[in-house]
């Protein structure tokens, strides 16, 4: 290695990729998000081939590769059961909640697959198997976070009792 290299100051160039995005939600996804926004409903759809009820809804089934036509829509939840969760202990600007908060995979009533979302409160009572309910935001825009988070039903019940 040449000696002069040892005296070189290693510079760093800072930069960022700034590209705006506009993702096509597609017709199927749009119907789902519009239902969140306008009706406070969580919709799924059923594959006519293997009968799997998906949420979010899909245009085709990944397992049996059949198209899912427009007659397969079904309303799900708004309650469900936690099948897995993690309590996040670090803060990061990407996250919509302040730590500690939880991510959970929730089997909504009527669905065959899990729905990934947030749980903000009642973390001490959080266990696999607890029932939760979707909590909608007041102002909704057709976005996955129109559902603010899921609440533990036990906590809800306690809160009601306290009032």
């Amino acid at each position: 290695m040449a000696e002069w290299l040892q005296d070189v100051e290693d510079l760093t160039l800072k930069g960022q990729i700034n590209v705006p995005y506009a993702w096509s939600v597609g017709e199927v996804g749009s119907r789902f998000l519009v239902a969140l926004r306008d009706e406070e409903k969580i919709l799924g759809n059923r594959c006519p081939g293997c009968n799997t009820v998906y949420v979010p809804p899909r245009k085709n089934c990944g397992s049996c590769f059949k198209d899912i036509d427009d007659n397969q829509w079904t309303e799900l939840g708004p309650e469900g059961v936690v099948t897995a969760f993690t309590i996040v202990r670090y803060d990061y600007p990407l996250q919509p909640a302040k730590a500690p908060f939880a991510y959970a995979i929730i089997k909504l009533d009527g669905a065959d697959v899990g729905f990934v979302h947030l749980i903000r409160q009642g973390l001490e009572k959080l266990r696999n198997g607890v029932r939760v309910k979707a909590l909608f935001k007041e102002e909704r825009t057709g976005h996955i976070l129109d559902v603010d988070s899921f609440e533990l039903l036990e906590a809800q019940a306690e809160e009601t009792w306290k009032r």
């Binding site: 590209v19 993702w23 096509s24 597609g26 899909r58 245009k59």
Partner: protein
């Protein structure tokens, strides 16, 4: 001993500037189901999948794993290949090796892009080296414009000569209902009057931005013959992705990567006189001047002879060597799919599935890919088994 490999089916979406009705996975699924239908197989008959696009155009990391519901990859081997504009041909070549290796019998190659989802130029400038190139000589147009003006100066080619290429491709698109520019032919005057982007490139000299996908089924000898009456055999492939920094490109010579890739692919395929030996060519020409200069690198005519060769009608339908019967890149440019479309269209020509864009009696076809820092891929396809 490597297996011989053929294309037995292909499918593509109807390419549009904006496909708001579908998300990326769903758009991919359209092309995939059409390709499977083309050779009458089901997804379970596919042994492996290769997929490609350019990440920052949709901002999806690990597209292979993201795509599986639409690409058919659930519980299958799937991998992502990405090499800029040459992605589509890199994907095709990867599919070739998946089958030639003997490990997989029927393989699905997918190229796709949803350019409507991002600012194409903002994304593409990030291909340049951040320290040396990104702040100055960046984006797709500047380097192409440099090449074009160098070519004009060297050989006296005119803007009208180049416009003739764009007119040809857009005219050919009249036969291709899948092309984005289907039914939108143009004249030389239209090109000359379109807005100047960077001298001498005007708006109608360059390719559009497209949402679209293409899927191609490759199969091994033994299976291929059962899947379609006239499989399109992959005779040879060659790739040269030669330069890293845009300043290293020499515009006074012919395109080095294309010359070298063509030389290797032609040698392996026994091609000595491209204009005679090929029956059709689907060339990755992202802008009109390429249709003059790059066909020289490919050996269709000598240096500086491009304008005359094209102007005399040799590359039109019915001419000596029809180029881009599909309408080419100037009519459709869903980048991750674009080079794969060249391969698919060349294969369709050999398979006799070209419909209104079919060139009669195609025995030998050429498909090329272009992208990155002046990179080239060359693929020769034949009706006869190699």
């Amino acid at each position: 001993m490597a297996k011989r490999v053929a294309i037995v089916g292909a499918g593509q979406t109807h390419h549009k500037s904006h496909r708001l009705d579908v998300n990326g996975r769903e758009m991919i699924n359209e092309a995939v189901t059409r390709a499977l239908a083309d050779c009458e197989i089901a997804i379970m008959d596919i042994d492996a999948i290769i997929i490609g696009n350019m990440d920052h155009f949709e901002s999806i990391n690990y597209v292979d794993t993201w795509s599986v519901e639409g690409s058919g990859g659930v519980m299958k081997p799937i991998m992502k290949i990405t090499t800029g504009g040459t992605t589509g041909t890199s994907v095709a070549i990867a599919a070739y090796y998946h089958v030639a290796s003997g490990l997989f019998d029927r393989v699905l190659a997918i190229g796709w892009e949803k350019n409507s989802e991002s600012d194409t130029t903002a994304a593409i400038v990030t291909c340049s080296d951040p320290v040396w190139d990104r702040f100055s000589y960046s984006g797709a147009i500047p380097s192409l414009a440099t090449e074009a003006s160098a070519y004009m100066e060297q050989y006296g080619a005119t803007e009208e000569d180049a416009a003739r290429v764009a007119v040809r491709d857009r005219t050919h698109a009249l036969n291709n209902p899948y092309a984005q520019m289907y039914n939108r032919p143009i004249t030389i005057q239209d090109v000359m009057e379109s807005s100047m982007l960077a001298y001498p490139i005007k708006l109608l000299d360059v390719c559009p931005r497209t949402d679209g996908a293409c899927a191609v089924v490759f199969a091994a000898e033994g299976s291929a013959e059962k899947m379609t009456p006239r499989p399109a055999w992959i005779k040879s492939t060659a790739v040269r992705h030669t330069t890293t920094w845009f300043g290293d490109v020499d515009y006074d010579t012919g395109m080095l990567s294309l010359q070298r890739a063509a030389k290797e692919a032609y040698e392996k395929a026994g091609i000595n006189n491209p204009a005679e030996d090929f029956d059709v060519a689907e060339l990755y020409l992202p802008y009109s001047y390429a249709g003059l200069k790059w066909i020289e690198a490919l050996g269709f005519c000598g240096p500086g002879e491009g304008p005359a060769f094209v102007g005399e009608g040799n590359t039109d339908m019915g001419g000596k060597i029809p180029m881009n019967p599909s309408g080419g890149v100037i009519s459709t440019n869903c980048i991750g799919a674009t080079a794969l479309l060249r391969v698919a269209e060349a294969a369709l020509q050999i398979m006799g599935k070209g419909d209104k864009r079919q060139v009669p009696d195609v025995k030998t076809a050429l498909a090329t890919g272009f992208g990155g820092c002046w990179w080239s891929d060359v693929i020769v396809l034949t009706r006869d088994k190699p």
